[in-house]
C-alpha cells in the first residue's frame, strides 16, 4: 500500500525542478510505460492461464479480438459496406463503426503487412501508454493529489480496460479526448479543437467535447476582450466549430457510399436499437433486473459523478459526462460501461475519490479484480462484457 500512501502534490510537481536525473514529465512517461508493460504481461499471463486451466484451450493476446473487433476488421480489410448485407437478417453494415481507429489500424495492415486482428490490437495497445500518460497529466492539471501510479492504474487496470487489448476504438478515443481536455485546460484552443475533431471521428460522443469547450469559453469571461486580442477571441469559436468536423466528414463519406449521411445512426436498427426516452430506458433497465439493472445503476453513478463535477465547479466536464451517458441511454443500457469507464472525466472523479487512502484501499483492489473478471467474462462469451 506504499504506492497509495505516497504523498504527491501535483502543483508542486509541475513547478519543481527535476529531481535526480529525471524530470517530472519523464517520470510520468516512465510510469505510463511501466503500467502499460505490467498490464500487457498481466493480461497475457491471465489469458494463457485462463485458457489452459479453465477453457482447456491455448489462448494468446490475439484471441482477444472478438465481436466489434471483427467489425473493425471488415473496415480494415474491405472498407465500408455499400449496402447492408451482414448479420442473419442481412440488414447490418459496418457503418456504425467510426473511421479513425480502423484507419490507424489499416496503416499497420498495409505498411507492415500485419493481419487485421494484430493491426487492431497493436493500435489499441500502443494507444494505452498515451492514454495513461495524458490521464496522469490531466489529473495533475486538476490539482488532484494522487500518485501517478494510482491515476495511471485507473486507466490501465479499470474493469473495462480490457478494451485496450481487444481491437476496440476506446483507447484511441480516450487518448484524443484526454488530449483535447488537457489542451483546453492549457488554453491551447486550436490543438483542443483539432484533437476533438479527431475524437468525433473515433466515437460519436466525441462531439460532446463542445460542452467543456463552451464552458471554458464562458468561464474565462472577458479576459480576451482587449482590442488587440480581437483575433484571439475568434480562436475559441474556431476550435469549437472544428469539433463536429470528424463525424461530419465521416457522414459525407457514408453519403457517397450509401446515399445516407446519417447511415451510422440509422444502421442501429440492425441491432434492434431505436431512439427512446432515456428515462424510460433507464427505468426499464432497473425494472428488468440482472445485468440491465447493474448497467442502469452504473449510468446512475455516472450521472451522480457528473453532478459532482458540476458541483465542484467543473461544469463543462460534468455536462460532457452527462451527455456521454445520456446518448447510449437513448437506446439501451447494455453498452453503458464502455461509455462510463472510458471517459477521462469519470476517471477524474475516481481519482478524486482515491485521494482518501481508506477509500483507495477498497476501490482500487475492486477495480483491479474487475479487470481480470472481465477478461474471464470476455472468453466465456458473456453478453454483458461485449
Amino acid at each position: 500500500m506504499s504506492m497509495l500512501s505516497t504523498l504527491y502534490t501535483p502543483t508542486a510537481a509541475r513547478h519543481d525542478r527535476p529531481t535526480g536525473r529525471l524530470d517530472v514529465r519523464w517520470q510520468k512517461i516512465l510510469v505510463a510505460l511501466a503500467l502499460s508493460v505490467v498490464s500487457e504481461i498481466a493480461t497475457w499471463v491471465f489469458v494463457r492461464g485462463y485458457g489452459y486451466w479453465v477453457l482447456g484451450q491455448s489462448l494468446g493476446l490475439r484471441s482477444l479480438c472478438r465481436w466489434d473487433c471483427f467489425w473493425y476488421g471488415s473496415i480494415v480489410l474491405y472498407g465500408y459496406d455499400a449496402v447492408p448485407s451482414r448479420s442473419p437478417a442481412s440488414d447490418a453494415a459496418n457503418w456504425a463503426f467510426y473511421p479513425l481507429f480502423p484507419l490507424l489500424a489499416g496503416l499497420w495492415h498495409r505498411l507492415a503487412g500485419f493481419g487485421f486482428e494484430d493491426s487492431l490490437i497493436i493500435t489499441g495497445t500502443l494507444a494505452l501508454p498515451v492514454c495513461i500518460y495524458l490521464f496522469i497529466e490531466f489529473v495533475d492539471e486538476d490539482d488532484i493529489a494522487v500518485s501517478p501510479w494510482v491515476s495511471g492504474s485507473l486507466v490501465a487496470f479499470g474493469p473495462y480496460s480490457l478494451y485496450a487489448r481487444t481491437g476496440y476504438s476506446e483507447p484511441v478515443y480516450f487518448a484524443l479526448c484526454t488530449g483535447a481536455l488537457l489542451a483546453l485546460r492549457r488554453n491551447r484552443w486550436l490543438a483542443a479543437g483539432l484533437l476533438a475533431a479527431a475524437c468525433s471521428a473515433t466515437r460519436l460522443v466525441g462531439v460532446f467535447l463542445v460542452l467543456p469547450m463552451l464552458a471554458h469559453l464562458v468561464g474565462r469571461g472577458d479576459r480576451a476582450s482587449g482590442p488587440s486580442e480581437r483575433g484571439a477571441r475568434l480562436e475559441p469559436l474556431l476550435a469549437i466549430a472544428l469539433v463536429p468536423l470528424g463525424v461530419t466528414l465521416f457522414g459525407w463519406y457514408l453519403y457517397g457510399r450509401s446515399g445516407d449521411m446519417l447511415a451510422f445512426a440509422h444502421i442501429q436498427v440492425a441491432w434492434g436499437r431505436s431512439l427512446q426516452n432515456p428515462l424510460v430506458v433507464w427505468w426499464q433497465g432497473v425494472h428488468d433486473g440482472g445485468w440491465p439493472r447493474v448497467f442502469a445503476l452504473q449510468a446512475g453513478l455516472a450521472l451522480l459523478a457528473a453532478a459532482y463535477l458540476c458541483g465542484s465547479r467543473r461544469i463543462g466536464y460534468g455536462a460532457y459526462l452527462a451527455a456521454a451517458v445520456m446518448l447510449p441511454l437513448c437506446s439501451s443500457v447494455w453498452s453503458i460501461p464502455r461509455y462510463v469507464f472510458w471517459q477521462p472525466v469519470f476517471l477524474l472523479v475516481l481519482a478524486d475519490l482515491v485521494r482518501w487512502p481508506p477509500l483507495a484501499r477498497i476501490l482500487l483492489p475492486l477495480l483491479w479484480a474487475g479487470y481480470f473478471l472481465m477478461i474471464a467474462a470476455w472468453f466465456s462469451g458473456q453478453r454483458f462484457v461485449v
Binding site: 437478417a89 472544428l242 463536429p244 461530419t248 450509401s258 445516407d260 449521411m261
Partner: protein, 197 residues
C-alpha cells in the same frame, strides 16, 4: 483587421457554410423508399424479403414470412404471429402492401382481418390505387371483406387505413404494449377480373 483574424473569420464562415450544407444533405438522404421505410422511418420490419413461387392470386397468409412474388415489402405491420400480423400505427399510420409489379384493370380483392375492441364499429378504408372503399368491422372476430375494383391507372400498393389505432392498454389495462394496434391481418387474395358472383 489583421491577416490572421481575416483567416480565422474566413475559416469560421467556411465551416458554418459546410455544416449548413451537411445538415441539409443529412435531412435529405438519397436512398430508396424501402431503405427509408426500414432504416429511417422504421415503418417496416422487412429488409431481406424471402419470396416463394406463389402469387397474390393464390392468396397470402400474413403469418408466413415467405411472400408472394409480387410483394415488395409490408409497411405498418408488426412481426408475424401464428395467426397473422397486427397493424402498428407507431410504425406507419396505415398498412401498405407494396408491390413490385403494378396492379391495373379489373381486380377482386378478398381480405380477412380482425379488429381490436376500439376499432370494432369504426371504419377501415381499403384502397387500391385511386379507388377506395370503407368497411366497418362489427366486432373483434376475424371477418372476410370483398372489394371489386376497376383501375384505369396502375397502382403500386394495397393500402388499409384503420381509424382507431391505440395501444393495447386502451382495452386491456394488464397489457401495456407500446405498439398501436387497430387491425390484425390474416389473409389476402387478389385475383384479376371481376369477383365471382
Amino acid at each position: 483587421m489583421t491577416g490572421r483574424t481575416l483567416f480565422r473569420v474566413t475559416l469560421l464562415v467556411a465551416l458554418a457554410a459546410f455544416y449548413s450544407v451537411s445538415a441539409y444533405v443529412a435531412l435529405h438522404p438519397r436512398v430508396s423508399e424501402h431503405y427509408r421505410d426500414y432504416y429511417i422511418r422504421r415503418a417496416t420490419t422487412d429488409w431481406n424479403v424471402a419470396r416463394g413461387t406463389a402469387r397474390l392470386a393464390d392468396g397470402f397468409d400474413f403469418a408466413s414470412t415467405v411472400y408472394p412474388q409480387e410483394v415488395d415489402y409490408l409497411r405498418g405491420l408488426s412481426l408475424p404471429e401464428p395467426w397473422g400480423r397486427w397493424s402498428d400505427a407507431s410504425m406507419a399510420p396505415g398498412v401498405s402492401i407494396l408491390l413490385r409489379e403494378p396492379l391495373s384493370g379489373s381486380l377482386c380483392l378478398d381480405v380477412r382481418f380482425r379488429a381490436t375492441p376500439l376499432q370494432a364499429g369504426a371504419p377501415v378504408m381499403i384502397r387500391l390505387g385511386d379507388q377506395s372503399t370503407t368497411v366497418v368491422p362489427s366486432d373483434t372476430e376475424p371477418r372476410d371483406y370483398r372489394i371489386e375494383a376497376q383501375l384505369p391507372q396502375p397502382a403500386w400498393s394495397i393500402d388499409l387505413e384503420p381509424s382507431r389505432p391505440a395501444p393495447s392498454g386502451g382495452w386491456d389495462p394488464q397489457n401495456l404494449n407500446p405498439r398501436r394496434f387497430a387491425i390484425g391481418l390474416i389473409r389476402l387474395q387478389l385475383r384479376p377480373g371481376p369477383c365471382p358472383g
